[in-house]
């Protein structure tokens, strides 16, 4: 069993309205040190079987096809082996 953590972030240059609003809300709450806020997705999948290399190939493939939109998003990932 593999645990895969895929992090999907808006590309630099793409307006992150949610991140900006959250930063402003933090400032309004008195957290004046917050210089920037960005919000991405943390997608965690459990995958069956295969070698690490196979899993890695699958993860790239599903990220490019569905999990991230390359027009606006970048992704990276971590793969961990897990006991059942």
């Amino acid at each position: 069993m593999w645990l895969v953590k895929i992090k999907v972030r808006l590309k630099k240059g793409v307006l992150d309205a949610q991140g900006k609003t959250t930063q402003q809300a933090l400032l309004a709450l008195g957290f004046h040190q917050v210089k920037e806020g960005r919000i991405g997705k943390l997608i965690e999948l459990k995958l069956d079987g295969g070698s690490r290399e196979e899993v890695e190939k699958e993860v790239r493939d599903m990220s490019q096809k569905l999990l991230a939109n390359p027009v606006i998003e970048d992704f990276d990932y971590e793969i961990e082996a897990r006991e059942e």
Binding site: L15, A17, T21, L66, I72
Partner: protein, 242 residues
């Protein structure tokens, strides 16, 4: 001539489109359920992807609908030259399916916008806009949370160079201003077509601007343009010598 309106789980403007085509245009129209994998769209001339919150907008707007079984047929239909119109969420699905360039992201302002909007017709050389006049200002409602059009600079230039930008957000006098831009779209883009001009996506809802009681009739010419185009095609089919 036949229109088809695709229904995804969460579509909610499907009946608006159906009603507009059937009762106002008086054109033949059928609903198509998204699960119809084997559907080849034979007999259809124009496919409409309506607005709504397909699959709850999970992951990204349009992302999951894009892989609905019916979309294989829609992509095939579109690439063969069939007319495809994506409205609001339908536009988002078309970009996710890469039938149109760019992406729709969250509005720059804080919220879901639902109001009358003025847009300017930028190009009339398409089956969807031929009855408009270039520069004409239309009043068409918008209703979306993710309508900010984004693409990289190169793509925007290409859209400009190939006259693919069909509608831009403008003020009442037709000026393309920052203030008239409701959602932060690059170049005030409200609607585009592909290079072959048979696939159109737009955020405003023309199907909601086709009756007196809805305060604007400006959406009508879009659907009537399609009907005229399809009638011409049909004529050509039957009298190929003309």
């Amino acid at each position: 001539m036949k229109f088809g309106v695709v229904q995804f789980p969460g579509s909610n403007c499907d009946y608006d489109c159906y009603y507009a085509i059937k009762n106002i245009l008086k054109a033949p129209v059928e609903m198509i359920w998204h699960k119809e994998k084997e559907h080849n769209l034979k007999g259809y001339d124009c496919i409409v992807l309506p607005g709504g919150f397909s699959y709850g907008d999970y992951l990204r707007v349009g992302a999951i609908a894009r892989y609905s079984p019916i979309m294989t047929a829609v992509i095939d239909f579109a690439l063969k030259g069939g007319l495809v119109l994506g409205i609001c969420n339908g536009f988002q699905v078309l970009t996710e399916a890469k039938l149109l360039p760019g992406a729709l992201i969250r509005n720059e302002c804080l919220h879901f916008i639902c109001r009358q909007q003025t847009i300017r017709v930028e190009n009339i050389d398409t089956p969807f806009t031929k009855l408009y006049q270039k520069g004409q200002v239309l009043k068409i409602p918008i209703a979306h949370g993710e309508g900010c059009y984004y693409a990289d600079e190169e793509t925007i230039s290409e859209l400009e160079n190939h006259h693919q930008i069909l509608f831009r957000y403008c003020d009442a006098r037709g000026e393309i201003t920052r203030e008239a831009n409701p959602n932060g779209s690059l170049s005030n883009i409200a609607g585009i077509c592909n290079r072959e001009r048979n696939i159109v996506g737009l955020m405003p809802h023309p199907e909601r601007a086709m009756e007196e009681c809805l305060a604007s009739l400006d959406g009508r010419l879009l659907f009537e343009s399609i009907v005229i185009q399809l009638k011409q095609r049909q004529r050509r089919k039957f009298c190929p010598e003309t």
